[in-house]
Symmetry: C2
Subunit: 335 residues, 2 copies
């Protein structure tokens, strides 16, 4: 009975039914054990009928650089070319306070009017380290629902940049025109993940600054390039004005060229396999703790050990080993 | 034989022997299985003879705000009061490129001259999410080696801020005087972790800007305060000039007051227990993957499943469950 329901959901989703897609994503994002079983069944159904491939575009940039405007223009262009576009807004929450995800959908006003567009906030924030995040599964579901392009947007707090770069086939960093002193520090890690740096707001009063900023990023990227040998990984800096479809289009052409290059050289699939391995490891890290918490005896022991670590200086390494030995005791006594 | 060697290391360390401490930290940081066994033995020896408590001070701030200069002045003051001070420099590495840790030690010139001071870079960078990091253990070893204050310094890339705030009893955010537009975005998460925001370089030409910056952070912190109810968690903004010991001293008095308050209200121990639980979970997440990789059959299966996830859209959730079922198969068939 449940399985037929899931089966129906799967076939409606594969026909591109938006409400089925939303329902499926909600199911996958749920922490509820029963829902997790259901979503595994769903994925089995979908896997059975084969995998569809979209292009996954990761887009990161601080609040206010104009991600939504850029996505709005880019998405409209892609839809104009007859594509179906899904946008997953990964809104990070800070470590102690919660974040809001409502903004994005309203800001992408033009895009939301299109039937061929699906916009969905994907709350990753529960874990800033991305463990337990379901954005990868959400992207997979969008693909199965016949979306040719899945845009994954993040403001890049915590580990969400790494997370999104591991889901995306191509990763764009959007930066606003500025004095250039932001180039050091925090940005560096992001720039190494980015395939392209797009300097936004290349219009009106900002145009001059945008050009300078772009030049600064271009030279910074040249330095990075030397550090990493991979010819596929040569990032590029470009200016763009989301108010002018032509500039977005010309950026997009460069992006498409790199995607084509990666497809031809097999690095697109390589990249997805590398990332699947990482996703699988994150999932294992998540599930092991759920298993321990769901085992009354182990959960209690875990709590006691945490106290021992704090009070008597027991090593977390030894404590962790004890828990895992208990969990997999039978394997350990096997030769 | 090995155990006597470790026993000797432990007793030398408890006497405050610096070379023993260095050797112990190197042992703890090693990924080598044999070394991990040894460090567990070491921790057992140390735990047996009881736990010493230091005050752990986490200090974060972007490159160039003057962390080393501040620590140099603060450390010298504390040593002047007859304390022993250890400094662990957690140098973050970005996701793709490596970082360098050599800078810190040389910049704390005055401090390094003191016998009562121990400075050590603690490479956490291997995992930006902090999993597998050994800074917590290193801090514990410093305590056992009779250091009254353990200062843990980071530039706060990736998750290292969260990491350090989970090790420290008190967490200081250092910021340089600026226009104030940095207040949004990335800083926000850090400010919620910080107990104090110290605006550095409150001297010479910077003094005026430092005052303004401090006022901005103070009002931003007031907003945060409303979001989190905990009266213990009321962060404060102060200006400081590391060139003037008096200003560092007056900051330090406020810090000491909060530490005293937390000790009296038992929140210091609570905090350590909460953090030990997190450390233990991180350690479990790390070890589970090592166990899988060290089991030939499981390692191969993990690789195959990663390919399946990438090629045929198998759910990482189902794949992870299969691996964990295999690992703990005997438990699963028990009632």
């Amino acid at each position: 009975m449940r399985h037929t329901a899931i089966h129906n959901l799967a076939s409606r989703l594969r026909k591109g039914d938006r409400s089925a897609l939303s329902k499926a994503i909600t199911l996958v994002e749920s922490e509820h054990d029963d829902h997790q079983d259901k979503s595994e069944t769903l994925f089995r159904h979908l896997a059975a009928t084969g995998l569809r491939h979209s292009v996954r575009i990761g887009i990161t940039g601080a609040t206010g650089v104009g991600k939504s405007t850029f996505i709005n223009t880019l998405g409209t262009i892609l839809i104009g070319h007859g594509h179906r576009v899904a946008v997953l807004a990964v809104d990070p929450t800070s470590t102690l306070a919660g974040g809001s995800i409502l903004g994005d959908k309203t800001r992408m006003s033009e895009l939301t009017r299109h039937e061929a567009c699906y916009i969905r906030p994907s709350p990753s924030g529960r874990n800033t380290d991305g463990v337990g995040d379901r954005t990868g599964e959400a992207a997979l579901l969008c693909e199965q629902a016949c979306y040719d392009f899945v845009i994954i947007e993040t403001t890049g707090t915590g580990q969400t940049n790494v997370l999104v770069s591991e889901i995306a086939d191509i990763f764009l960093l959007l930066v606003a025109p500025h004095g250039g002193d932001e180039l050091q520090g925090i940005k560096r890690g992001v720039m190494e993940l980015a395939d392209f740096v797009l300097v936004t707001k290349n219009d009106g009063e900002h145009a001059a600054t945008a050009g300078r900023t772009c030049a600064e990023y271009a030279s910074a990227l040249r330095l990075l390039r030397h550090r990493r040998g991979d010819p596929d990984q040569v990032p590029n800096a470009m200016t763009v004005s989301s108010l002018c479809a032509d500039t977005v289009m010309s950026c997009w052409q460069s992006v498409e060229e790199l995607i084509a290059w990666r497809r031809d050289h097999g690095t697109l699939l390589e990249r997805r396999q590398r990332n699947s391995a990482k996703r699988l490891e994150s999932e294992i890290r998540l599930q092991i703790l759920n298993r321990i918490r769901n085992d009354a005896a182990l959960a209690t022991r875990l709590e006691d050990l945490a106290h021992e670590v704090a009070r008597s200086g027991t090593s977390p390494m030894a404590a962790a080993r004890e828990i895992l030995d208990a969990l997999s005791s039978c394997r350990d006594i096997q030769p």
